[in-house]
Every structure is written in structure tokens, then in C-alpha cells.
């Protein structure tokens, strides 16, 4: 069959109907009387932006953007505590080090954060595991955490080296239990808005402790976002928003320093394993 006779060769437009205007339910911009391109009033889910500025916190409005309603005081406190807890992945985190590499290289400052957040999108204890983590908690929290732990521990294939992530958001961290994550989870659990996911996660983490595993950062974020009613698909971005201040701060901290202010691995410590 010649190319022109093949089904793919007949290219014609589909009759799909595309909308004329993009729709949104979360933000309304009302035009100025004398210029339809200029916004005279902005509303977030019906609330006037100027009123939100006067009466509510950043955390309240962040919650409003994604949930469509303002949070209760308890919900806002839980979200704010989560945001403080994970405001900075810390200077050893791969995403932070990506920001630092950008900073020390004098990368355009406006690109430091996208570089770091792109790195943070990874699936290994990064934003890329959050959606799966929330779905795991939503499914598993209906049954006893000990049962889930027992089942997973009997079926898991232990890696020969490195860490074991037994479930999204739970596992070992540098071959041990992530101490800070256990402390943070313990604090969040005491807050009034803490719900079933956090409580279930705590029991699950305890059931894993004997095996040297527990909460990971992403498990806690997934649990809090589950308890607050966020959608799993939004979780990766929320985690990136939460971590952004620390990532950027570390990157920009190095932006006015010489390139010698970060280690450059010596040749003797650079081993090429490949043999031709």
C-alpha cells in the first residue's frame, strides 16, 4: 500500500467543539467601566479581594482557592502548622541543592525557584508521590493500620541497598526512621482539625517502627491534605508551594557568593565505573 493510500494519510479536522471562553469557578475579574481589559474588582470564590486582604490570612485564602470555602479556625491552624513545618526541605535536600547550584552559578534569580520546584517534583519522597500518597490513605484508612502494615511487610521486596518505601509517604530515611517527621506528625495530631488520615498514618508508622520505617515528609503532607479535604491531584502543587520559601531562600543566599563557596568534587573522588 502506498503512503497516500494508508488511513493515516487522510488528514482532516475532527468535529470536536471547543469552548469560546475558558471557564473558571474560582476567580472573577470585573472590568473597569472605561476599559474592558483592566480589572476594577477581583473576587475569589465570590469574596472581594480587598475584603480578604483586610480580614483574612494568606493561609485562609490559600485554602479558599483550592477548597472553595474559607477554612474554620481549626482547619486554618492545621494548614498553617503544616506550612511552617515544611517551609524548608533543608540544605541537604536534592531540591534545595538544585536551588543552590542555580544560585552559585548566578542563574537568573527568577529561575531559581522553577529549577528547585521541578527537582522537587520527583517521585522519591517528593511532590510526585503526593497524589498516590493521598489515594493510599483514602483507601487504607477504612481498615486497621496494623493489618495494612502486616500485609505490606509480608509482600514487600526489600531493596538490597538504599531506603525502603513500603507505601507512598512511609518508609526508611537514610536507613533509619525520619526523626523530624515523627515529631512533626506527633504535634499535628494534637491539633483539633487533625482527622482520620493523620491518626491512621500515626498507627501505621508505629506498626512499621520495628522494621526501621515510619512517617516520611510526604506522608504527613498527604495525610493533612486528606484530612482538610484537598483533591489528590492538587497535592503535588500544594507541597511545592509549601516548600518554595526555603528552597528559594537557600538558592538566593548563594547568589552573591563565588563559585568556590560550594564544594567541587575532586578528581580522586570522581569515579567512572564504566569500562569500554
Amino acid at each position: 500500500m502506498s503512503s497516500s493510500a494508508k488511513p493515516s494519510a487522510q488528514v482532516r479536522k475532527r468535529d470536536d467543539v471547543y469552548v469560546k471562553r475558558t471557564a473558571t469557578r474560582l476567580w472573577q475579574e470585573l472590568p473597569a467601566a472605561d476599559n474592558a481589559y483592566i480589572t476594577a474588582q477581583s473576587r475569589c470564590h465570590g469574596y472581594d479581594l480587598m475584603q480578604l486582604m483586610q480580614k483574612r490570612s494568606f493561609v485562609d485564602v490559600l485554602y479558599l482557592l483550592f477548597r472553595g470555602e474559607l477554612p474554620t479556625a481549626d482547619e486554618a491552624s492545621l494548614l498553617e502548622a503544616l506550612m511552617v513545618a515544611f517551609i524548608n526541605p533543608g540544605p541537604r535536600h536534592p531540591a534545595t541543592r538544585a536551588a543552590m547550584n542555580a544560585g552559585i552559578g548566578k542563574t537568573d534569580p527568577g529561575l531559581i525557584l522553577p529549577i528547585a520546584l521541578t527537582t522537587l517534583s520527583g517521585k522519591h519522597n517528593g511532590a510526585g508521590s503526593l497524589e498516590e500518597g493521598m489515594r493510599f490513605l483514602r483507601q487504607q484508612q477504612r481498615k486497621p493500620a496494623q493489618d495494612t502494615a502486616r500485609q505490606l511487610l509480608t509482600t514487600i521486596e526489600w531493596p538490597a541497598e538504599g531506603d525502603c518505601n513500603i507505601a507512598p509517604g512511609f518508609g526508611s530515611h537514610y536507613s533509619g526512621i525520619d526523626n523530624m517527621s515523627q515529631q512533626i506528625a506527633g504535634h499535628l495530631l494534637q491539633m483539633p482539625a487533625a482527622g482520620t488520615a493523620l491518626s491512621w498514618g500515626q498507627q501505621f508508622a508505629r506498626a512499621l517502627a520495628e522494621e526501621g520505617m515510619g512517617w516520611l515528609t510526604t506522608g504527613i503532607v498527604a495525610a493533612v491534605l486528606t484530612d482538610l479535604g484537598f483533591q489528590p491531584r492538587a497535592a503535588a502543587g500544594i507541597y511545592q508551594i509549601i516548600s518554595a520559601p526555603g528552597l528559594f531562600a537557600h538558592g538566593v543566599e548563594l547568589a552573591n557568593k563565588p563559585m568556590t563557596a560550594m564544594p567541587f568534587i575532586a578528581d580522586e573522588d570522581y569515579q567512572i565505573e564504566y569500562e569500554k
Binding site: S3, S4, K6, P7, S8, A9, Q10, V11, R12, K13, R14, V19, R21, T22, A23, T24, R25, L26, W27, Q28, E29, P31, A36, Y37, T39, H45, G46, Y47, D48, Q51, L52, Q54, K55, R56, S57, D60, G68, L70, T72, A73, D108, G110, L111, P114, Y174, S175, G176, E211, G212, P263, I265, D267, D269, Y270, Q271, I272, E273, Y274, E275, K276
Partner: protein
């Protein structure tokens, strides 16, 4: 073993590369080749791209074939989603690199772009095994694939916006010019296309063609995805340049009422409790 940090200690302050690197004063090595001596001026850029992505240095004709696909996927049309990101970045005077990276990143997507190649190669390789095991084309098409609007949804077949795909005829010419045979996977891909055309009025798309060809050449889906990580980048750059060199903010400007607000009506903000 709990809190045994030996694995981490061995790697602390050291890099173990399975690829290569710069030995200062000795040369730059890549999978055992000297990049300056063995590659520069001797191989094509795409051969080195494929070596970096797969660990194997291909023959020049295969690299030329892979390169031709880049032309098929880099169009200067800002209506395409990734390209529009480049155009939007241009209209707000973002840098060329940021714009190109942003648009390219958008093709790490489920609906279109580069990531679907993983599923495309997986489908045709699995289908080939099914065919060898005696399954009919109908069974391959109808078993295990999602059905949407009454049609089986198979990665590599049908596409958004249009039916048919002009890029396949172009790549078929390249396949012929470079003297490649039509292998088992591509033969099967055509048979599947014929079945879909007859029964559902759908055809193969460029993903299906590339997936089948690369499967015949022994690539995995992940290898194809890695080789083509920047597949659309040049088209994004083109769309960026088009708007960057024009009046800022003039690309598809929107009036307030060009957005269809469907949310709740105005309400007063309650005080915090």
C-alpha cells in the same frame, strides 16, 4: 539493617558515574569514548544524544531517523499547548531558555507529547507478544484497552484535533531513504491501523509509528522517552521568538469577560472566629 549508614557513608563526598566525566587534563569521557577525539566532527549530535540517553552509540542512519522525528514534533504553531506556553512566555519577555524549558516541560504529559511514548512502546511490544501467542487483531484491540465514546483508546492511534497524521507519510519516506526494513512491530502496527480504520474510522498517529519502529530497533519505552526528552523544544522556541519580538502582552490578549466565570456570586467576607 536499622540505622546502618554504611551505604550512605560510602557515597558521601564521592561521585560514582556509570556514564563518564571530565578527567581534568586527560579528557572528557563518555561510555569509554573520548568525546573530543571520537565524537566531535566524527559523529552526529543525535548519535551522542542517543548514547547519553541509552548507553548505546547507534549507527548514523538510526540517529538520522530519530532526528527526523524531532522535525515532525517541533512546529511553529502556538495553538499547540506546549508551543502556546512558549508564546505566552515570549509575550511577557521571559528568557528564551526559560520559555523553551517551560514549553518542553509541558509535554511530560498524559494527553499528548513525549511521555505517551512509554505507553506507546509498551502497547505495541505487548501486542506483538500477544500476536505471536495467537491472538487476533480484534482480540488485541478489544482486550484490556479503555473504551471512550464507543472506540477503543489505544496509545499510538487517533489524535486530538484531527484524524490522520501527515507525519507518518513523511517518516515513511525517511524509513525508506535510510533503507530500514519494516519489522514485526511496524507490520503489526499497520494491521492494527487497518482494523481501526475499518471498524472505527481511526488511524495510527506519529506516536504509534515511532513506537513500532523503535520497538523493531530494540528500544524500550523508557529509552525512547529519554532520547526524546526535548522533542518539541525547537517548536516552542519558534513560538517564543514570534511573540518575544512583538509588542509585550500582545499575544492573544483577553478582556475580563473573555473568561467565563462560573463560580458563586458575590458574598461578604466573614470575620475570623
Amino acid at each position: 539493617m536499622k540505622n546502618n549508614t554504611g551505604f550512605w557513608d560510602q557515597r558521601r563526598g564521592k561521585i560514582f558515574s556509570s556514564k563518564g566525566g571530565w578527567k581534568i587534563g586527560q579528557g572528557i569521557f563518555n561510555h569509554g569514548y573520548s568525546m573530543m577525539d571520537d565524537f566531535v566532527g566524527k559523529t552526529s549530535y543525535m548519535q551522542v544524544v542517543m548514547l547519553n540517553a541509552t548507553g548505546r552509540l547507534p549507527e548514523r542512519p538510526l540517529a538520522d531517523w530519530v532526528e527526523a522525528v524531532f522535525i515532525c514534533l517541533s512546529w511553529p504553531d502556538p495553538r499547540i499547548w506546549c508551543n502556546q506556553i512558549g508564546a505566552l512566555a515570549g509575550t511577557m519577555q521571559t528568557s528564551a531558555m526559560a520559555a523553551t524549558c517551560a514549553g518542553t516541560l509541558a509535554t511530560d504529559a498524559r494527553a499528548y507529547g513525549v511521555r505517551p511514548l512509554i505507553e506507546g512502546l509498551a502497547f505495541i511490544q505487548h501486542a506483538c507478544l500477544d500476536s505471536q501467542a495467537g491472538k487476533s487483531i480484534e482480540e488485541i484491540v478489544l482486550s484490556g484497552n479503555r473504551v471512550r465514546r464507543g472506540k477503543p483508546e489505544i496509545m499510538g492511534y487517533a489524535r486530538p484535533i484531527a484524524k490522520g497524521d501527515e507525519r507518518i507519510a513523511a517518516m515513511e519516506r525517511v524509513t525508506e531513504q535510510l533503507d530500514f526494513d519494516i519489522g514485526e512491530h511496524l507490520t503489526l502496527a499497520y494491521r492494527i491501523e487497518d482494523y481501526l480504520a475499518t471498524n472505527y474510522n481511526e488511524s495510527m498517529n506519529i506516536n504509534g509509528y515511532v513506537s513500532a519502529f523503535l520497538s523493531d530497533q530494540g528500544f524500550t519505552g523508557e529509552e525512547a522517552y529519554r532520547m526524546y526528552a526535548t522533542l518539541v523544544s525547537s517548536g516552542v522556541t519558534a513560538c517564543y521568538v514570534d511573540t518575544r519580538d512583538k509588542i509585550p502582552n500582545s499575544f492573544l490578549p483577553l478582556r475580563c469577560d473573555d473568561i467565563d466565570y462560573q463560580g458563586v456570586v458575590a458574598r461578604d467576607v466573614p470575620d475570623r472566629n
